[in-house]
Amino acid sequence: MRTLLLRSLFLRPVTVPAPRPDAPTPPSEDAILAELGRVLEVKARRLFGRSITIREVDAGSCNGCELEIHALNNAVYDVERFGIKFAASPRHADVLLVTGPVTHNMRTALERTYAATPDPKWVVAVGDCAAGCGVFAESYATVGSVEKVIPVDLVIKGCPPKPIDLLKGLLTLMEQATAKASP
């Protein structure tokens, strides 16, 4: 383990680097990611001081969206460097990230999770199912889109959305939230 740790000290990070503020329009996905992260960080700082905390709720997804939300935490996307982190309890959350066509069996749990989240709070519906356009929309067992159950501030489409799209979505949310917070 020592060799591995020592070597890691001298390796370049796999995390995509943040660009200079005057960097031209980024051509590659890595550069877009870095630029997004930079803007996201500025917005998050302005609104929440140093960080925002997300509680993820699977309200009926196929778990595809969860895999990509998970990826936000890996060393490549490393969402925590922008002050965004995931919490285990809705009590600690500013944002609920909700996936899935809300199933009837999960409806009550989602409503209770929302009620347990302190104000101010934002809800992001992640994925086509949560947006109401997934393959599970017409079923006796599903309510449908997340906004049929709790108020939604932002929708991130995709089946599932890529981690890069999730980051873009969080940026949009920050913009909306900033506008709401500063009259």
């Binding site: 383990m1 591995l4 740790l5 796999v14 993820e56 709720v57 699977d58 309200a59 009926g60 997804s61 196929c62 778990n63 595809g64 969206c65 969860e66 895999l67 990509e68 939300i69 998970h70 990826a71 935490n73 890996n74 060393a75 490549v76 995931f86 285990a88 309890s89 809705p90 899935g100 066509p101 199933t103 009837h104 069996n105 999960m106 409806r107 009550t108 749990a109 999770t113 997934g134 393959v135 599970f136 017409e138 079923s139 006796y140 067992a141 599903t142 089946c159 599932p160 890529k162």
Partner: protein
């Protein structure tokens, strides 16, 4: 070899039009005999599901080369319970009753399973009668009695980025005396969505039964449809299907190995495995246009890979193979980590045999079964690979199964990517009718898909995830372990909620 079971089906004529494995129509008496024989270890239960006026049971008679399906025509709304003799059928019977209204006669457990009283409907695929909504939290958990026992309820919303389900722990101090699962929270009505759907749309639903196994489900669904309609996909499609299935296996195993170590607080391995996994998904995206390769396997073939796909994937394998070997050495050389994984969450060979538990759960406890080898299908029928089997049955053994499988998958991929056939990747489907069944080996174990096609549409389709026979064993694995080891045990199983709840 179960002589009684084999004799029971030996002289019967299979129903025509069911491919590739035979399906027999049987009566109540034969059904009960099968249940008793399964209970005595005469075979593996592969699935049990309802249909318009029948119950089907898929099994593999011990020692037989291929599985078969037996069907019992329903004359009343009762059928003799299989779960009464063979416990692995209990939850499947509870699900069949919730969905179809068929009551397993003399069943040992009569509580609802998928129906939480929230649909406003009873038997949505059967009589479909309106029903009053109940409090979803009302459920009779099995009692655990004893001095000092207390309960810890967990879920359905869990602490991590994971799917929902409820775990009820009865604990004595730190020791778990009983875990009982309550699932069904992500029931989306997949059976109903598939029934009556056009094949193309049904394939999209099947691809979303469990997102982490999207390739395996699309693969099984495509093969079941092709068997029903007697279509043979082109050679290029067969190899590309194998490529995608192995990429999915590697990506998931890497994620699991990292997450298990993370649950034992060794975040270093987690970080590295996360990077490897990301490399695999990014390469899959470049090759096939989707990180999880969703909807890429279709009945009739595959959506063809982009130009340069094989080269790109080979480069990715070169990038991860050596660093992965180093991480494996680190896992092997860290006693503080092994202290957590060795001897934790043991499931014995008898249990995995009785439940016919597939994947890393079975193979970590001496059950030498892999669908790719034992019910061989293209492209595995021509491939050379080893099926790693361990015997300890603990978290450590489940990690080692994954490690060895990643190595085998890399070798398979190198072979196929170096010999990718050219030509078309898809053939047209034709209209027709028939019944098809297929099993594929997903990363967590075998999945089964059965379809009945009438006039080019799906009349009935059933999917059974590997998790059906693994979830109950998690309850056994955690018994007498400490509560703090539950995340470790749970992650080492990594059962699917969505694939189970349907």
């Amino acid at each position: 070899m179960s002589e009684r079971l084999a004799a029971l089906i030996a002289d019967r004529t299979p129903v025509s039009g069911h491919r590739p494995w035979p399906r027999y129509e049987i009566d109540d008496a034969a059904w009960v005999t099968i249940a008793q024989e399964l209970g005595k270890g005469g075979g593996d239960l592969l699935s049990l599901w309802g249909d318009q006026d029948q119950v089907h049971l898929a099994m593999r008679v011990a020692g037989a080369a291929e599985p078969c399906v037996v069907s019992l025509r329903m004359t009343t709304s009762d059928f003799p319970s299989v779960g009464r003799f063979h416990a692995p059928a209990i939850r499947l019977e509870r699900a069949a009753r919730d969905l179809y209204g068929f009551t397993p006669f003399s069943a040992p457990d009569r509580r609802p399973w998928l129906d939480h009283g929230a649909w406003g409907l009873r038997a949505p695929l059967g009589a479909r009668s309106p029903s009053m909504r109940r409090d979803p939290a009302a459920y009779d958990f099995l009692p655990a009695l004893g001095e000092g026992l207390h309960q810890i309820p967990v879920g359905p919303v869990h602490a991590g980025i994971i799917e929902p389900g409820h775990f009820r722990f009865s604990v004595n101090g730190e020791i778990v005396a009983r875990l009982e699962e309550r699932l069904g929270y992500v029931h989306k009505g997949i059976d109903a969505l598939l029934a009556g759907a056009e094949i193309e749309r049904a394939a999209k639903v099947a691809a979303r039964i469990s997102g982490d196994s999207t390739v395996a489900y699309s693969f099984a669904f495509a093969r079941a449809v092709e068997a029903a309609l007697q279509i043979d996909p082109p050679p290029r499609a067969k190899i590309l299907r194998g490529v995608m299935a192995e990429l999915e296996r590697i990506a998931n195993h890497l994620g699991d190995i990292g997450a298990i170590c993370n649950d034992a607080s060794l975040s270093l391995i987690h970080a590295h495995c996360g990077i490897f996994r990301e490399r695999v998904l990014a390469a899959a995206d470049r090759a096939f246009g989707h990180r999880l390769m969703m909807d890429r396997i279709v009945p009739g073939g595959v959506e063809d890979a982009g130009p340069g796909a094989a080269r790109g994937l080979q480069v990715m394998l070169d990038e991860i193979e050596k660093p992965f070997a180093e991480i494996v050495r680190l896992y092997d050389d860290t006693p503080s980590l092994q202290d957590r994984t060795c001897g934790t969450g043991i499931v014995g060979k008898d249990l995995v045999g009785q439940w016919a538990a597939g994947g890393h759960v079975g193979r970590a406890a001496g059950r030498d079964f892999d669908c790719r080898r034992d019910f061989a299908y293209a492209p595995y029928d021509d491939a050379v690979f080893k099926v790693p089997v361990f015997t300890a049955g603990d978290v450590d053994a489940r990690v080692w199964v994954r490690i060895r499988e990643v190595e085998q998958s890399i070798a398979l991929l190198r072979h196929w990517l170096g010999n990718l056939p050219s030509g078309p990747a898809r053939v047209e489907l034709r209209d027709g009718s028939g019944e098809g069944i297929a099993m594929t080996e997903a990363f967590r174990g075998d999945v089964l898909v059965s379809v009945r096609i009438e006039g080019g549409r799906i009349a009935r389709a059933h999917a059974r995830d590997a998790s059906w026979f693994q979830w109950p064993l998690l309850e056994a694995a955690i018994e007498n372990n400490i509560v703090a080891d539950f995340p470790l045990c749970n992650k080492s199983f990594n059962c699917s909620y969505s694939g189970h709840d349907l």
